[in-house]
């Protein structure tokens, strides 16, 4: 009986507080930029620099890798042709 009274008191005290609480947006929903806490905001310049930097590095890396593979293939063809003569 005593436990029931404690539970009832807790329900009466916490009920309105829980009912008034705003539901938090799930992490896959749109969050307006103005509602993002300041500690989670990333300066735009960092994101722009990261995007452009990544594109440059990836493209240069690919061109370098392709150049290396072409050179290797040309060398192998030359070696095989020399051997075949």
């Amino acid at each position: 009986m005593r436990h029931l009274r404690v539970l009832l008191t807790l329900a009466l005290l916490l009920g309105p507080a829980l009912a008034g609480a705003q539901p938090q947006p799930s992490p896959d929903e749109f969050v307006p930029i103005s509602e993002i806490p300041p500690e989670e905001q990333i300066p735009a310049i960092n994101l722009v620099a990261a995007a452009y930097g990544f594109v440059w590095v990836a493209v240069l890396g690919y061109v370098w890798s392709l150049g290396g593979r072409l050179k290797k293939a040309e060398d192998e063809i030359a070696r095989l042709e020399r051997k075949g003569r």
Binding site: F30, Y52, A73, I77, K83
Partner: protein, 219 residues
């Protein structure tokens, strides 16, 4: 390397070098501010990603019907470029979205189907690398699935609810924003064409190496 490829590479390099100044001259977008400038590299990357998938799909279909290895070489080259430009799209997009939407990623139709296309061509390259003899036909079939995915990606923003901008954004851009965009699209297209040509020639050289080894074995 042919003269045309050299010219394409030189023009693309020059345009990429000038691009930061051209993009910097564009005005800031009213609601997103500076971060929208990722668009000038993100959208051309996405277009080259889809172009790579289209070229790989069409070349694969022609290879399946004609058995001509020239089309297979083009398909491999385009598939590799689809993965490269897909990676650029899938990395630059979330960097923009984090500021514009407050999220790195959403599982909407556009982003999910783009990721699927990237994975299809990644699977294509893995199949070519480790699939052994006969993998060229299997991978050609995979490229056809990739090709079928492209129209779905393009219309997804107009058909389903999404945070991603619709396809109507590009024709309605003001001139000051449209000019840098088309400049970057041209730079990316020249780069794509030059890389496609170089990568196809690598595939032809590899076929020549195989033929030389076979001739050596027979001798």
């Amino acid at each position: 390397m042919t003269t045309a490829v050299k010219m394409q590479l030189a023009a693309a390099t020059l345009m990429f070098a000038v691009a930061p100044w051209v993009i910097n001259a564009a005005p800031h977008e009213a609601t997103m501010g500076l971060v929208y400038k990722i668009y000038f590299f993100h959208m051309p990357s996405a277009w080259m990603f889809m172009l790579g998938a289209i070229v790989a799909g069409v070349a694969s279909a022609r290879f399946l019907f004609t058995k001509n290895p020239k089309f297979d070489a083009t398909a491999v080259a385009a598939a590799e470029l689809a993965v490269l430009f897909g990676l650029l799209t899938l990395v630059s997009g979330p960097l923009w979205a984090r500021k514009a939407w407050g999220l790195w990623w959403v599982w909407d139709a556009r982003l999910t189907s783009s990721l699927m296309l990237f994975l299809i061509f990644l699977a294509y390259l893995l199949l070519r690398q480790f699939g052994g003899p006969g993998s060229e036909k299997l991978s050609a079939g995979l490229a056809l699935f990739g090709l079928a995915n492209v129209p779905f990606i393009y219309v997804s923003v107009n058909v389903w609810r999404t945070l991603h901008p619709k396809t109507s954004v590009v024709p309605t851009l003001p001139v000051e924003m449209g000019r840098p965009l088309w400049f970057c699209v041209t730079a990316f297209l020249l780069l794509f064409l030059a890389l496609l040509s170089l990568r196809s020639s690598l595939e032809r050289q590899r076929a020549r190496i195989d033929a030389l080894y076979l001739a050596e074995d027979e001798a």
